[in-house]
C-alpha cells in the first residue's frame, strides 16, 4: 500500500512553524525506537525512586529525522509491537519543545497507521546549526549578525545584540504571517511585531529555522510576550494569544542571563493547559480552579514528623491535576488555597501520580516547593468549570471492577437513618445507606460513612422525610461488591445535593414524569439494609405478608402486649453437660432413681438444668398470635431464672409469689424481636414465631416512631391526589398540596418508596378500621375509583358505598372529607382525602381513633 509521509513536516517542526497538532497532524515514520529509563526521585515523599520507562523515537518525514519522546500512556503500543521501527504514524496530539538545544517532539497521542513498513526515503538528521540554509530565502543571510532592522518594532528593547549567541535566537514570527506556510517573510514580520507576540527561542538549531530574523536577534520581549530569565536550556512556553500556529503556551526563553541589560518582562505569564503539563517542560503556569481542598494531615515516619496537604485543580480545558505540598510548603500555601477559587500556579515540579490515592485523570501530580508561586485570580473566569464530573449510569456500575472510582448522579429513593458500626480497628463510625435511581432503570445502594452521615446524610433524610426526592451527585465514590455492586464514600468523595447541573434537572424531570412510577432493578441485592431490628410490623402482617414462608426465616420487631401466658409448662428439664463450649440442653428424662438421662450425651446426671420454654399470646391492635420464648428471652421477660421459678412453684409451693411475678408480666407492653418461620408439623404447615429478644417499650422512641408514621401517611396522602390529573368530583386535588401539609410534595405512595413499611401495611391498618370491605393486599395507585374519584381503590372497595354498620361512619367521614364542607376547611386544615376510610393503601395509626368516631 502506498503511504505518503507528510513531506517537509520535520523542517517545519524545526523551524517552529509547526508546534502542535493544531498546526499539523503529520504522517511520519518511526526510524528508531529506544527505551530509556528515567528515575523519578521525590525526596519529599520519601518514596523509593521510581523507574518509569519512556520510549524515545526517531521520526522521519521521508527526508529529515526528528527526535521524539513518547508519552508513557502510549507505552502499551510499543510493548504490544503495534508501534515499532518502520511503523507509520500520525501525530494527533503533540508538543514541540527545545531541550538542550535540540528540538524534541513530545507525543501525547498518535495513531498507528501501518504497523510496519519499509523505510521510506533516505532520511537524514536535520543539521543542527546552520538551519539558515533551509530557510526560504530572501532573508538576510545569517540570523545572527544583523541586529535589527527592527528598530522600529516595538520591542521591549532588549538584547538586540545579546542574541548573538552561538545559536541564533529564534524569533517567533507572528501569526498573521504563518498561515501554515513555511516561509517566513521577515519583512512582514517586522512590520507587525507589536501586534503579535514574537518570541524568541533558546538559540541553536531549531532556531536556525528562523530566517529572516536578523530581527531574530531580537528577542522580542514585547508586552504580550513574557519571557523569563531562566536557563536557556529549558524550553519555555510561549505566549501568544493571537497566534494561531504557535501554541499559546510556548514562551521565549531568555538565556542571556549574563548578558547585561536584560529587561524582565513583567507581562502576565503564559498559561498552559493542564493536559499539556509534562516533566520535560521547565517553566509553566497554569490557571485553574480548586475543586477540592484536602485536609492538613500530619504523619510520622522514619524520617520524623511531617505534614502534607493536597488540592485538586481543574482548568478551562477540563484538565485535572492534584497538587501536593509538604512540610514548610504547607504553611506557605494552606491558608491561601480556598476551594472554588481560581489560582495561577507555577514553578512546581511534576512527578508521576500515585494512582492509589490520586484518582484524577492525569498521569502526573504537581509538587510545590518554596519557590513555587500561587497567585489568586480575582476575577472569576467562567470558562473554568466549578467541578468536573464524569457521570456514569448505574447500569455501567454493574460492569465495573471493584475499587474503581466513579461519579454518579441519581434520585434518592430511600435513605436509612444513621447507624453505628464497629470497625475492624475497634473504632465506631456512622453509616447510612441510601438508594439512588437513574434513567437507566436501575438503582444502586450508596453507603455514606463517617461525617457524611451527619452532614449531607441528615439533609437528605429530612428532604426525603418531607416527601421530596432529592437528586444527589457523587464525585469519586468507590465501587465495591457486597451482595451485588454497591458504591461507598471515601474521604475524598464529594456529595452535591440537588445540584444545578443539566443532568440533575434532566433526572428530576424524568423522575417526576415517569421514573417515579417505574420499578427499578437494584444492582445491589436487597438484603435488608435497614437492620432487622428496625423492621417494624404489626401482628396481622405476619399472616398477610406470609412472613416466614420463604426459605429463610424473617426477623421482625413488633410492639405488643402479653395477653396470656401458658404457665403449665413454662420450663423443661435440660441436660447440663457441656459439649465443647455449649451446653447440651437436650431434654433429659427422669431415670426413676433420682437421676436424669440424656439421650444425646448418653449419660445420666444428678442435677438437671431448668430452661425456659414459655408459650404465650401477644396482641396488638391488629391481631393476636402465639409465640414461644426460650431460655434467654424467657429470663429477660420473667425476671427470674427458670430454676428459681420452678422451685417457687413446685418445690416451695409458693403460689402467691409465683402469681405475683406472672401478674407483673402480663398485659405489659413490650417490644419483641421475633423470628418467624414456617414449619411443617405432621403434615401441617404452621408459621411459628420465636421471641429472640424482649424489652420494655421505650415510650419516647415508640412515640417518635408513630409520629414518623403519621408524617408518612400525610405525605403519602398527597400522592395519588396530586399526581393524577384526571380527577372528577370531590377531588380537592391541587388544594391538598397547600392545605395542612407543610409544603411537602406529593409522592407516589409506597410503590416506589421503601420506608421499611411495605405497601401492604397500609392495607392492614385500613382493614382493621373499615372491616373486610377494604381488604386489599396490594393496593395499587393505578386503580381509580369511579365513585368517589380517588385513586387507590376501586368502586367495589370504595368507602363511600360501604354497607353495614360501618357505612354511616364511613360515609359521614367520607362526606366530610369529600364535600369539604365543615371539616376545618375554613381554617385551612382539611384532612386530606386519603383519610381512613378513603384510601386503603394508606397506613393507619394504631391510636384507636376508630373508636372515637363511633
Amino acid at each position: 500500500m502506498e503511504v505518503n509521509l507528510t513531506a517537509g513536516a520535520v523542517s517545519r517542526i524545526i523551524s517552529r512553524e509547526v508546534s502542535t497538532e493544531r498546526d499539523l497532524k503529520p504522517l511520519l515514520q518511526v526510524i528508531e525506537l529506544k527505551e530509556v529509563q528515567t528515575t523519578s526521585k521525590n525526596p519529599q515523599q520519601q518514596q523509593e525512586p521510581r523507574k518509569s520507562e519512556r520510549y524515545r523515537l526517531l521520526l522521519s518525514d521521508g527526508s529529515l529525522t526528528q527526535q521524539g519522546m513518547l508519552a508513557t500512556s502510549k507505552n502499551e503500543l510499543v510493548k504490544s509491537s503495534k508501534l515499532q521501527v518502520g511503523s507509520v504514524v500520525q501525530l494527533t496530539q503533540y508538543l514541540c519543545n527545545v531541550i538542550q538545544d535540540r528540538m524534541i517532539v513530545i507525543i501525547i497521542e498518535l495513531e498507528v497507521i501501518v504497523n510496519k513498513y519499509d523505510i521510506i526515503g533516505k532520511p537524514v538528521a536535520a543539521p543542527r546549526s546552520s538551519r539558515l540554509t533551509q530557510v526560504p530565502t530572501d532573508q538576510p543571510g545569517a540570523v545572527m549578525p544583523q541586529a535589527n532592522s527592527l528598530g522600529g518594532s516595538s520591542v521591549g528593547g532588549i538584547m538586540s545584540d545579546k542574541l548573538n549567541t552561538a545559536g541564533a535566537t529564534l524569533q517567533q514570527p507572528t501569526m498573521n504571517h504563518w498561515q501554515g506556510s513555511s516561509r517566513l517573510n521577515e519583512s512582514e514580520q517586522i512590520r507587525n511585531p507589536s501586534a503579535n507576540a514574537p518570541n524568541f527561542y533558546p538559540k541553536t538549531d531549531p532556531s536556525a529555522g528562523f530566517p529572516g530574523s536578523s530581527p531574530t536577534n531580537r528577542p522580542f520581549g514585547v508586552q504580550s510576550t513574557g519571557f523569563n530569565n531562566t536557563r536557556p536550556a529549558a524550553s519555555r512556553p510561549q505566549s501568544t494569544s493571537n497566534f494561531q500556529s504557535i501554541p499559546s503556551y510556548q514562551q521565549p526563553s531568555p538565556m542571556y542571563s549574563n548578558r547585561g541589560a536584560v529587561s524582565k518582562n513583567e507581562a502576565p505569564p503564559r498559561i498552559i493547559p493542564i493536559s499539556a503539563l509534562n516533566p520535560y517542560q521547565g517553566r509553566w503556569t497554569i490557571k485553574a480552579r480548586v475543586t477540592a481542598k484536602g485536609e492538613l494531615r500530619r504523619y510520622n515516619n522514619a524520617r520524623g514528623e511531617g505534614k502534607v496537604f493536597s488540592f485538586d485543580l481543574l482548568d478551562s480545558d477540563g484538565g485535572e491535576i492534584r497538587v501536593t505540598c509538604f512540610n514548610a510548603v504547607v504553611d506557605q500555601f494552606y491558608n491561601q488555597i480556598e476551594a472554588g477559587k481560581i489560582y495561577l500556579i507555577s514553578r512546581g515540579s511534576l512527578k508521576p501520580a500515585q494512582k492509589a490515592f490520586n484518582h484524577l485523570n492525569n498521569e502526573h501530580e504537581i509538587f510545590l516547593d518554596s519557590t513555587s508561586t500561587v497567585q489568586p485570580c480575582y476575577e472569576d473566569d467562567n470558562r473554568i468549570p466549578r467541578q468536573q464530573f464524569n457521570f456514569r449510569t448505574i447500569t455501567d456500575i454493574e460492569g465495573m471492577e471493584n475499587n474503581t472510582m466513579v461519579d454518579i448522579i441519581g434520585v434518592v429513593s430511600f435513605i436509612s437513618p444513621a447507624a453505628s458500626i464497629m470497625r475492624k480497628n475497634g473504632m465506631e463510625t456512622q453509616k447510612r445507606t441510601l438508594h439512588l435511581r437513574d434513567m437507566s432503570g436501575r438503582s444502586v445502594e450508596l453507603t455514606l460513612w463517617g461525617s457524611f452521615c451527619n452532614a449531607e446524610g441528615q439533609k437528605l433524610q429530612s428532604l426525603c422525610d418531607s416527601g421530596e426526592f432529592p437528586v444527589l451527585a457523587v464525585k469519586a465514590g468507590r465501587v465495591s461488591e457486597f451482595n451485588g455492586k454497591v458504591v461507598g464514600s471515601i474521604s475524598t468523595t464529594q456529595l452535591f445535593i440537588d445540584p444545578d447541573f443539566p443532568e440533575a434537572h434532566r433526572l428530576k424531570e424524568w423522575f417526576v414524569s415517569t421514573g417515579r412510577n417505574t420499578p427499578a432493578v437494584s444492582i445491589s441485592r436487597e438484603t435488608s439494609t435497614v437492620s432487622r431490628a428496625d423492621d417494624r410490623k404489626t401482628l396481622s402482617q405476619i399472616k398477610d405478608e406470609k412472613l416466614g414462608t420463604s426459605e429463610k426465616p424473617d426477623w421482625i420487631t413488633v410492639v405488643a402486649r402479653i395477653a396470656y401466658i401458658k404457665l403449665d409448662n413454662f420450663c423443661y428439664t435440660a441436660c447440663p453437660i457441656m459439649n465443647g463450649d455449649r451446653q447440651c440442653n437436650k431434654k433429659v428424662t427422669n431415670n426413676g432413681d433420682g437421676k436424669w438421662w440424656c439421650d444425646k450425651c448418653d449419660k445420666a446426671v444428678d442435677e438437671c438444668d431448668y430452661r425456659y420454654i414459655i408459650q404465650f399470646q401477644i396482641h396488638d391492635h391488629t391481631g393476636i398470635i402465639w409465640v414461644t420464648a426460650f431460655q434467654e428471652s424467657g429470663q429477660d421477660l420473667m425476671g427470674v431464672s427458670a430454676k428459681d421459678l420452678y422451685n417457687l412453684r413446685y418445690e416451695n409451693q409458693d403460689d402467691e409469689k409465683f402469681m405475683e411475678i406472672t401478674r407483673q408480666v402480663m398485659f405489659n407492653k413490650y417490644m419483641f424481636k421475633l423470628k418467624v418461620k414456617e414449619e411443617i408439623f405432621s403434615d401441617e404447615q404452621r408459621v411459628k414465631s420465636t421471641v429472640v429478644k424482649v424489652e420494655k417499650v421505650n415510650f419516647s422512641s415508640d412515640s417518635r416512631h408513630l409520629l414518623d408514621l403519621i408524617e408518612k401517611i400525610k405525605t403519602n396522602d398527597l400522592g395519588p391526589s396530586a399526581s393524577k390529573a384526571e380527577f372528577t368530583t370531590p377531588n380537592p386535588g391541587p388544594d391538598y398540596a397547600g392545605v395542612g401539609i407543610h409544603g411537602s410534595r406529593g409522592i407516589a405512595p409506597t410503590a416506589s418508596r421503601e420506608y421499611g413499611l411495605p405497601v401492604n401495611q397500609g392495607g392492614q391498618y385500613g382493614n382493621h378500621y373499615s372491616g373486610s370491605r377494604l381488604r386489599e393486599s396490594a393496593p395499587s395507585i393505578d386503580i381509580f375509583c369511579n365513585s368517589c374519584g380517588v385513586t387507590g381503590h376501586s368502586s367495589t372497595n370504595c368507602p363511600t358505598i360501604m354497607n353495614g354498620p360501618l357505612q354511616s361512619v364511613g360515609r359521614d367521614y367520607s362526606d366530610r372529607m369529600y364535600s369539604g364542607a365543615s371539616v376545618g376547611r375554613g381554617s385551612g386544615t382539611d384532612f386530606s382525602s386519603g383519610g381512613y376510610g378513603g384510601i386503603p393503601s394508606q397506613q393507619g395509626i394504631g391510636l384507636g381513633c376508630h373508636e372515637l368516631l363511633v
Binding site: 412515640s703 401539609i741 376545618g824 381513633c849
Partner: protein
C-alpha cells in the same frame, strides 16, 4: 382523683397554640422554671414561657401537666395539676400538640 370538670374536652396546646384557645379549656405540659405561691412559671414544649396560676402540688416535679382555662396567650388558670416526673420527651408532646390542633383536630375535640 380530684373533681375533674370534664364537661368540655381540653385542647392540647403548647406556647404558640395557647392563643388560639383563650377563654377555653386547655391542657399542656410545662417544664417548671419557677414555683411561687399561687403560680408556677414554666417553659412550654415549644420553648415559650407560660404561667400557670393556681396551687401546684407539693412536691412539684420538673414536668407538670396543667389543665385549666386559658386566660390569655401566656397564662392558664390551672384547675388540675399532675406531676409528670423529671424526664419527659418534650418534642413528642409538641408534635402531638401540632397534630391535635392541625388536621386531626376533629379527633380530639
Amino acid at each position: 382523683m380530684q373533681d375533674m370538670d370534664i364537661s368540655s374536652p381540653a385542647a392540647f396546646v403548647n406556647g404558640g397554640l395557647l392563643r388560639m384557645h383563650v377563654g377555653r379549656k386547655v391542657r399542656t405540659v410545662l417544664q417548671v422554671t419557677r414555683s411561687d405561691i399561687g403560680s408556677v412559671m414554666g417553659r412550654s414544649t415549644d420553648g415559650c414561657q407560660l404561667v400557670a396560676k393556681g396551687s401546684p402540688p407539693v412536691p412539684l416535679t420538673s414536668y407538670v401537666e396543667v389543665i385549666g382555662v386559658a386566660e390569655n396567650e401566656n397564662t392558664i388558670r390551672a384547675e388540675l395539676w399532675t406531676n409528670f416526673g423529671d424526664t419527659f420527651d418534650a418534642s413528642n408532646y409538641d408534635k402531638l400538640c401540632q397534630l391535635a390542633n392541625g388536621e386531626l383536630k376533629h379527633l380530639f375535640l
